[in-house]
Amino acid sequence: MSYVLKRLGRSVLTIFVVVSASFGLIRLLPGGPLDYLRAQMIQRGGSDLSSAELNRRIAAQTNIAVDEPLYVQYFDYVISIFQGDFGQSIWYDQSVASVIGPAIPWTVFLTATALFLAFIVGVSLGAFMAYGEGSRFDVVSTAVGLVLNSTPGYVVALLFVAFLGYRFQLFPTGGRYASELTPGLNVPFLMSVLYHGTLPILSMAIVGFGGWALSMRGNSIRVLGEDYLRVARLRGLPTRRIAMRYVARNAILPMYTGLMIAIGTVFGGAVIIENIFAYPGIGFYLIQAINARDSPLMMGAFILITVAMVIGITIADLTYGWIDPRAKGGASRESY
C-alpha cells in the first residue's frame, strides 16, 4: 500500500515538475513565447494598446499576470493548470481546454490500441519463434522483425497513405470518422471510427511488434535453458503448465518494463502519425500550434500529452505486481 501511495506521489510530482517547467519556458525565456506573444498582440491590435491592456490580454491568454511578483504569477499559473484552465488559444480563439480536451480520447484510442496489438502479436510470435529456434519460420520472422524494428512508424504511415489511401483508395487519408455520421454508440459510427483508425494504428503497431517479437524470442530462449525447467520436466508437470507458468511468465517479465518505455515512444510517435493522417488528436494540435505560433495551445498540448503518458506509465507500474510475484511487497522493486 505504501508503495502505491509513493508511486502515485511521484506521478503527481512529475506532472508538477512539467507544469513548472512550462511556466519557466513561457515566462523566463528572453525572446521566448511570452515576448513573441506580446509582439503578436501589438501587431494585431495596433501599437495604440496601453501596456496595462497588453498585460491584461496576456494574462487572459496564458494565465500569467505579468505585473504581479514572480512567485504570485507562478502560483496562479500552477493553480489554474491544475483546475484545467490552460488559457486561450490564439489561433482557434477559444479556450485551450475546449480545443484539446475532445482530442485526448482519440489519441489514447490510437496509442493504446497500437501498443496492445503490437505487444500481443509480438509476444506470441516471439514465443513461437523461440519454440522453433533455427527453423525456417524462425529465420524468416527474425529477418522481418529486424527490418520492421529498423523502420520508423512514419515511413510505414507514408507508404500506407500512398498505396492504401491514394493508389488503391481502400482507406481514408484523414479524419476520425465520416463527417456525415452522428457521434454516439451506434454501429455505423463505431465502424467508421475503426475504419479511420485502422491505418494510423497499424502504422504504429507494425513497427513495434518486430521489437517485441525479437526480445520475446531472446528471453524465451534464455528461459528454455534454465535449470528449473529441467526440474519441472523431471517432476512430470504437464507441458501446458510448464509453457504458461514457467516459460511465458519468466520471459514476459522483462518485457513489461519495456512496455513502460514504449508508452513514451508511442506518444511521441503519435505526434508524427497524427499529422500524416490529419487525425485531430493531441499531437495534431501540438504541431498546429507550433506552425501558428500559438504558445498557449502548444504548452497545453504538451502538458496534456505528458499527463496522458504519466497515467499510462503509472498504470503499467502498479499492475506490475500481477505479473511479477516478487514485486508484490514493493520493497524489492525499490531496490532493484
Partner: protein
C-alpha cells in the same frame, strides 16, 4: 632430484643473505642478468617474461584482434559493420566527390535508376537526389554522435553513482530520472526547440533529441551496478583499499559495456528516427539539406504520396534511414557477442569460429 633441490635451496638462501638488497628483477618484469637464481619464493617473477613489443602484441591480440574476429565471424555484425562503414564513407568522403545539390542540375522529376547521371533521380526542381542524400549525411552523423554520446555519458555517470553510492544520493538521482523518464521525449524536444528558438546546429539538435533518454539508461545501469557491487572481486578491491573511482572505472564499468553499447546504438537510432521525423514535420530549424527535409519537400511540394511520378523522391530518403538503422541494430547485436564472455571463451577454444546464431538477443522492444 631431491638432493639437487635441497642444495639449490641452501645455496639460494645463503646467496640471498649475502645479496639481500638485490631482488632479482629490475622492477619492469625483466629478470636481471644473473638468471634469477637469487630470487626468493615470494619475490619470484614469471620464468619467462615479455619484452615491451611482445606485451604490445598481446594487448593488440586480446583487445583488437579477438573482438574483430568475433565480429567478423558473425554475419549480422559483418553486415552492420559494412553498412556503418558505407555511411561513414558517405558522410566523410563522398561530399567531396559528389557535387553539391542545387536546383536545375538536370531535368525535372527524373525517376530513380533511369540515367547514369542522376542515379536516384531528380526532384521537382531538378536537383539530383543522390547529391541531396550524400550532402545530408555529414550533419546527420554529427547529430547521431552528439546525441548518443550525451546519453551514454550522462546515463552511465548517473546510474553508476546512484547504484554505487546508494542512500540519499541514490534516491534523489533516481527520483529525478524517473521524472525525466515519464516526460514524452519527442514532444519535449518539439516544445524545447520552439521555445528556445534554437538554430540548426546539428550538435544542439542531437542533444535536444535525447534530452531525457539518459534516464532509461541510468535506471538500467543502476540495477546492474547493484548486482555487481557486492560481487567478490569488487569486495576484494575494496578490502585492498582501492579508491571508489578506481573500483568504478576498473571493476564496474567494464561489466556494463554491453548495456552501454546497446544504448549507444539505441540512441543513435532514436536520433535518426526523431530528427528525420521532426524535419519531415517541419518543426526543427534547418540550414542545410536533410533526409527529413527531403521527405517533407517530396510530400508537400510534389504530392509524392498521391502522385507516382514523385514517389522516388520520397522513397530514397526512407530507404536511406531504414538501412542505416538496420546496420546499427545488427552491429549492436554483433557487439553483444564481443562482450559476452561465453562467446569469447568458445572463440578462444576454436578460433576457426562458429557461425551458429545463438547469441543473446538484446534487442530492446518498443520504438516509434
Amino acid at each position: 632430484m631431491d638432493a639437487v633441490g635441497g642444495e639449490y635451496a641452501d645455496s639460494a638462501r645463503t646467496e640471498r643473505d649475502a645479496r639481500s638488497a638485490i631482488t632479482g628483477h629490475d622492477g619492469k618484469g625483466r629478470r636481471i642478468a644473473d638468471g634469477g637464481r637469487t630470487v626468493s619464493e615470494f619475490e619470484q617473477m614469471a620464468e619467462v617474461s615479455m619484452t615491451d613489443a611482445e606485451r604490445r602484441r598481446q594487448w593488440f591480440d586480446e583487445r583488437i584482434l579477438a573482438p574483430a574476429r568475433i565480429v567478423w565471424n558473425d554475419w549480422r555484425a559483418r553486415f552492420g559493420l559494412l553498412v556503418v562503414a558505407a555511411y561513414l564513407f558517405m558522410g566523410l568522403v563522398a561530399p567531396y566527390i559528389v557535387t553539391e545539390p542545387r536546383p536545375n542540375q538536370g531535368p525535372l522529376l527524373v525517376g530513380a535508376f533511369r540515367t547514369l547521371e542522376y542515379p536516384l533521380g531528380t526532384t521537382a526542381s531538378g536537383t539530383s537526389i543522390l547529391s541531396q542524400v550524400v550532402h545530408a549525411t555529414p550533419s546527420m552523423l554529427v547529430m547521431i554522435t552528439a546525441g548518443a554520446v550525451f546519453t551514454v555519458v550522462l546515463g552511465t555517470a548517473v546510474g553508476t553513482v546512484a547504484g554505487y553510492k546508494g542512500g540519499r544520493t541514490d534516491s534523489v538521482l533516481m527520483t529525478f530520472s524517473d521524472i525525466m523518464l515519464s516526460i514524452p521525449g519527442l514532444p519535449l524536444t518539439i516544445v524545447l526547440a520552439t521555445a528556445l528558438q534554437i538554430q540548426g546546429n546539428p550538435v544542439v539538435i542531437g542533444v535536444l533529441l535525447t534530452i531525457n533518454a539518459w534516464a532509461g539508461l541510468a535506471r538500467a545501469i543502476r540495477s546492474q551496478v547493484l548486482t555487481i557491487r557486492d560481487d567478490e572481486y569488487v569486495e576484494a578491491s575494496r578490502i585492498m583499499g582501492m579508491g571508489t573511482p578506481t573500483i568504478v572505472t576498473g571493476d564496474i564499468i567494464p561489466n556494463l559495456m554491453p548495456y552501454i553499447t546497446m544504448n549507444f546504438v539505441q540512441q543513435a537510432r532514436a536520433v535518426i528516427f526523431g530528427s528525420v521525423g521532426l524535419y519531415f514535420l517541419g518543426v526543427l530549424p534547418y540550414n542545410s539539406t536533410n533526409w527529413g527535409v527531403m521527405m517533407n519537400a517530396a510530400v508537400n511540394r510534389a504530392g509524392a504520396t498521391s502522385s507516382p511520378t514523385a514517389f522516388h523522391w520520397l522513397l530514397v530518403p526512407m530507404v536511406t534511414v531504414i538501412i542505416l538503422a538496420l546496420g546499427l541494430t545488427l552491429l549492436a547485436q554483433g557487439a553483444d557477442r564481443v562482450f559476452n564472455p561465453r562467446v569469447r571463451a568458445r572463440h578462444a577454444e576454436s578460433v576457426a569460429g562458429d557461425g551458429d546464431g545463438d547469441g543473446n538477443e538484446t534487442t530492446k522492444a518498443g520504438g516509434i
